[in-house]
């Protein structure tokens, strides 16, 4: 029985003449003496011949034509993408520019809009240099400015005919384009005059203004302009002080009875004011209403 199983393994090699003479002799000797294996070997040959004799098949005459139609109808993924791009370009006859250029332009416009996105009213005071009064008597804290200067705003500031704003202070845009961009919120005083060097946030703006006016003579400064107040009580003043006394201004404010002492440590972060001449600087101070 074991021999029969082994012999069957050689059927293919023997049938195809692919076995060595010793194997062939062994198989043939076994087949002579074993009727069952002889019958199996015959069926093995019949199987191979039957498989080889299966009818020949041929493709239809228009196989190539059908194939080409199919390829043209179902392009590859890469070809599909290229085709879609071409179609997209062709579908915009008035602007037949490459899609890449269009995308670049779109991204540029988006970036421009985001860069000029108007800050929230509440963010103006928090981001700029601010004096934040949280007490009923006008206590003030000093915060450094962090926003960049928008150079377009310099010329529009009413007090800046010959000066530039602080290098690190944010001056909101008040040009023609802005009115449409910020139409969704109320304009602030700073919006209207285009200056925002120093923000004083106080629940009592009158008290804060009074404090400032009292401080100025002590530091050889003077009030050069005072802007109107809007419905929110905001006001803006322009002062000229000796450049050496800029730090003293906030110190003096702090040392004045209405100011928190803890805020003094942040004065070093304050931006430098714009120079009027070799000795004096011009400083814009915005007073905003702090929440009560």
């Amino acid at each position: 029985m074991m021999d029969c199983e082994r012999i069957a393994d050689y059927f293919g090699a023997v049938y195809e003449g692919d076995s060595d003479t010793q194997t062939e002799k062994m198989v043939k000797d076994h087949l002579k003496s074993c009727a069952a294996c002889r019958e199996d070997f015959k069926w093995y040959g019949v199987t191979i011949q039957a498989l080889a004799n299966l009818e020949q098949v041929a493709p239809p005459n228009d196989f190539l034509k059908q194939l080409n139609a199919r390829i043209d109808k179902n392009p590859s993924l890469f070809q599909s993408i290229i085709s879609q791009i071409k179609n997209l370009m062709n579908s915009i006859p008035t602007a037949p520019v490459p899609v890449g250029a269009m995308s670049l332009a779109f991204v540029t416009v988006c970036a421009f809009l985001v860069y000029n996105y108007p800050p929230e009213l509440s963010q103006i005071g928090k981001s700029g240099l601010s004096l934040n009064s949280t007490s009923q008597n006008g206590a003030i804290t000093v915060e450094p400015a962090s926003r960049p200067v928008d150079p377009r705003m310099v010329a529009s500031a009413p007090f800046s005919s010959q000066t530039a704003p602080f290098s690190h202070a944010y001056v909101p845009y008040d040009g023609p384009g802005r009115s449409s961009a910020v139409s969704w919120r109320f304009p602030t005083v700073a919006d209207e005059i285009g200056a925002d060097n120093l923000t004083v946030e106080s629940p009592q703006i009158d008290l804060a203004l009074k404090t400032l006016k009292e401080i100025l003579p002590d530091i050889q400064g003077k009030l050069v302009d005072e802007k109107f107040r809007n419905a929110f009580g905001e006001a803006l003043v322009a002062v000229i002080i000796p450049s050496s006394r800029y730090g003293d201004l906030t110190s003096a404010l702090v040392n004045h009875g209405a100011i928190e002492v803890g805020a003094k440590s942040r004065e070093s972060d304050s931006p430098a004011p714009a120079k009027v001449d070799s000795r004096n600087v011009r400083l814009y101070i915005r007073f905003t209403q702090a929440p009560k």
């Binding site: 393994d9 293919g12 199996d40 019949v46 498989l51 080889a52 299966l54 390829i71």
Partner: protein, 219 residues
């Protein structure tokens, strides 16, 4: 200057190695190389030439996998479409024909599995039997008939087709490539990415399965 025995042996070994390398590189020679290059460059005429050269074999392989002319036509077109779309990724490591038959067997096997899951071959088998019902009864083989005599009968063709349809996909593909299409063991081994010994043993097992089915049906 005298050459010692070791030097002579080294020279012989080098010569044998060189001959082997030349032989192996000759195996990779591809008659279709020029057409394939042109085709990869976008020459549609070159592709058409390749199709005309291989359409009969590819169609035949497709037909053996699905057993139906319409399905075979669709499958063969799918095979050539895949070849056309992927020709740029063909690196020429093997012959184009080997690569094409790899696509054909893979697609054929997948289509066979797909159709089998949907009972395509069962329904087809029963309908064919119904169509030729009377003939089948008349053609029942004589129990004492010699196996060789059966080859001339129509009954054996149907029995073989049914036996192939019942084979496992791996057995089916190797039977198609070797016993029906007559490809060499070397080529089959390349197409199926199998060692030649494994190719032969797998084919033997597949033949034994078909043989048992034929024997059961016809004897």
């Amino acid at each position: 200057m005298t050459l010692d025995l070791e030097t002579i042996l080294n020279l012989i070994c080098l010569t044998i190695a060189s001959v082997s390398l030349v032989g192996s590189s000759t195996d990779n020679n591809d008659d279709d190389e020029e057409l394939v290059k042109r085709c990869a460059g976008g020459d549609r005429e070159a592709f058409n030439d390749l199709v005309l050269k291989y359409q009969k074999k590819v169609f035949s392989v497709a037909y053996r996998f699905v057993g139906d002319p319409e399905e075979a036509n669709d499958l063969a077109q799918e095979i050539f479409t895949a070849a056309y779309q992927n020709l740029k990724s063909f690196r020429g490591d093997s012959k184009f024909s080997t690569w094409l038959f790899q696509i054909a067997t893979n697609r054929g096997k997948n289509r066979f599995k797909y159709l089998k899951r949907r009972g395509f071959f069962t329904n087809k088998g029963s309908s064919e039997t119904d169509d030729e019902g009377d003939q089948s009864h008349r053609a029942l083989p004589d129990q004492t008939a010699n196996p060789e005599e059966l080859l001339s009968g129509n009954q054996i063709r149907k029995a073989v087709i049914e036996a192939i349809n019942e084979l496992e996909p791996d057995h089916r593909e190797i039977v198609i490539l070797r016993d029906i299409e007559g490809l060499s063991y070397d080529e089959i081994a390349r197409i199926l990415d199998l060692p030649e010994g494994t190719t032969k043993s797998r084919l033997h097992r597949a033949r034994m399965v078909v043989k048992e089915k034929l024997k059961k049906v016809l004897s």
